[in-house]
Amino acid sequence: MERYRILPHTADGKFQAFGKTLGEAFGNAALAMSSLMFDWTEVEPRARHFIHVRGTDREQLLVKFLGEIVYLLDTKKFLLGKVDGLRIRPEFEGFSLEAVLAGETLSDRHELHGGVKAVTYHELKIEECDGFTVQVVVDM
């Protein structure tokens, strides 16, 4: 199954990510977003960051989850290579997500060809039809 597809967008980055479950689609969205900045297949899982985010709806949960990756790159120079143990759970008001992000610290070995400034709600879609498709536009 195709993990994600990069879509044309004039100014920024747009992609769709797919998964049998919502969690899998979210994980693939994280890799899709990373692919706009660097080649995540070259990143080895040397460092791990446990993350936990909450969202009032699935859209906000996705924006916040991807926001974690932007934040870790900006503040810890962390490059994502793999998403482990991603779990989405319904909560009293909305959803929560837990995952372990595996990757390594930016070094001369990597080429960063773009930076994601922010994850947006613009044209954000979460669709369920024979699995899940999520669509995201990020500001670059």
Binding site: P8, T10, G13, L36, L73, K77, H113, G114, D139, M140
Partner: protein, 473 residues
């Protein structure tokens, strides 16, 4: 969409449905073809529906689709009944341009051009994930957020007179740090004094042509061949996080139901949430002013080291093109204070505006419009007509027409470098893929953008400058 031509290079979307005011597009027929291809016009119409909007929802000639508001959108809102929206400012708060003039000519730097660029490349951190050279404490960062470029000058980065030649004198007085999240601070600390990536760049340029001698002279632009330096960057991760935070918090406070786009989320300007965003945005603006102030200082250092002197390297001006500001404008013949959102648009105050520093008061405010990588950039002057045309605003750059992905597929960074080299333009970058993404072909024709601006009267053409050395983040 129903678009009516109402003048040369002026098009209108009449008030319809929930629109409170019409939308007005300043564009040539050619630029309009690009504008019509994406969601720009729908977004301009959405902006026209927001509470408290005055007069028009304006679209500048370089407009393209943004989030919520279009890039190249200008809208002003009543302070009492109106709103403020992070989507009307953009993620890169105070993304802007600084232009320095030198007393050097093209011939003076010809032999040292490579070295100059190499040294600047070493001195100014650029690219994604490149930290600044200054290790900041949180308390110093807070001081920077309050004082902006003033902090930089007080700490040895540049000269006092640079401040007068910066929009807002390099400091938004309304800034406050209590609404800035820890996350925004954390993203801001390692990135102060860095160029960043994407369309941000630093160029060594030369004057190519002067259109308006008097204004050029006032700005310190003397003759073709004179060397200038342009810096294009913004508030880095700190500003992006402030925008992200307030898009979330305004959605929680006021909801997003009924909004055609969640990024149009807004708060009444005078509400607690609206004020918290406004003051935090001002702080991010200040961060960007300090950022460009430091970078300009390092540029002077390099010129001094390589060419022997930084004498005569004076700042022409520094403009923000992603900002919301409280300004006084003429509404139905009376002065009124409004919160003017300029998202991908440059302020263009005409002669006589008190906000413009004394030395430019007869020429009008310098407006700096950067082109795409390797193409021309322009210096314009603000006009008196812009007041009634666009709340004293004009375009901010070339504006993309091709996606980054498509550009990366079509072009190769190394080839672009070689092509530029053949035209006598040196290029340094942290990423060749990044260079491909910024290929000139991926952008609108900036010459056409400034021509429309000049003909309509949004900004008057003063000079055309072309690059001799490009450093891309």
């Amino acid at each position: 969409m129903d678009l009516r031509k109402i003048g040369d290079n002026i098009w209108e979307i009449a008030k319809q449905g929930e629109m409170r005011v019409p939308a007005l597009i300043y564009s040539s027929a050619r630029l309009l073809e690009d504008i019509r291809r994406d969601m720009t016009l729908t977004q301009a119409r959405n902006v026209a529906c927001l509470p408290g909007i005055e007069r028009m929802s304006y679209v500048m000639p370089d407009a393209h689709q943004g989030y919520g508001f279009p890039i190249g959108g200008v809208a002003a809102f009543d302070l009492d009944g109106g709103i403020i929206s992070p989507g009307g400012v953009g993620y890169d708060i105070n993304c802007g341009v600084r232009l320095l003039k030198t007393d050097y000519t093209e011939t003076d730097v010809a032999a040292k051009r490579k070295e100059l660029l190499a040294e600047i490349f070493k001195e100014v951190p650029a690219g994604v994930g490149k930290g600044g050279v200054t290790k900041l404490s949180r308390s110093v960062l807070k001081e920077i957020l309050v004082k902006g470029a003033e902090w930089a000058v007080e700490n040895g980065y540049g000269r006092k007179e640079d401040l007068e030649r910066t929009e807002e004198h390099g400091r938004m007085e309304d800034a406050a740090t209590d609404g800035i999240s820890d996350r925004a601070m954390e993203r801001g600390i390692p990135q102060l004094g860095t160029l960043g990536s994407g369309n941000h760049f630093l160029e060594i340029q030369k004057v190519h042509e002067i259109y308006d001698d008097a204004a050029a002279r006032a700005f310190g632009i003397r003759a073709p061949g004179q060397v200038l330096v342009m810096v294009h960057c913004g508030s880095r991760g700190l500003g992006h996080q402030v925008a992200t935070d307030y898009i979330e918090s305004m959605a929680s406070a006021f909801g997003v139901k009924g909004l055609p786009d969640r990024e149009l989320v807004h708060a009444p300007f005078k509400s607690a949430e609206g004020q918290r965003y406004y003051r935090s945005m001002c702080a991010a603006v200040n961060y960007a002013f300090a950022n460009r102030q430091m970078i300009a200082h390092w540029v002077r250092d390099v010129f001094a080291r390589v060419l022997g002197s930084a004498k005569g390297i004076d700042q022409i001006y520094d403009v923000c093109h992603n900002v919301a500001k409280v300004e006084t404008h003429d509404v139905d013949g009376r002065p009124k204070r409004l919160v003017v959102h300029r998202k991908g648009a440059t302020r263009s105050f005409g002669p006589g505006r008190p906000e413009v520093t004394e030395c430019y008061r007869s020429a009008g405010q310098p407006v700096i419009i950067p082109g795409s990588m390797g193409t021309a950039s322009f210096v314009l002057a603000g006009t008196p007509e812009a007041e009634s045309l666009s709340w004293s605003s004009t375009a901010h750059g070339a504006g993309r027409v091709m996606s980054r992905h498509e550009a990366m597929r079509r072009f190769r960074g190394e080839k672009i470098r070689d092509d530029l080299a053949r035209r006598g333009i040196e290029l340094r970058s942290t990423s060749w893929k990044g260079v491909a993404e910024e290929a000139a072909e991926a952008y609108k024709d900036v010459d056409e953008v400034v021509r429309v601006s000049h003909e309509v009267g949004l900004g008057r053409l003063v000079a055309k400058v072309v690059p001799v050395g490009v450093m891309k983040g």
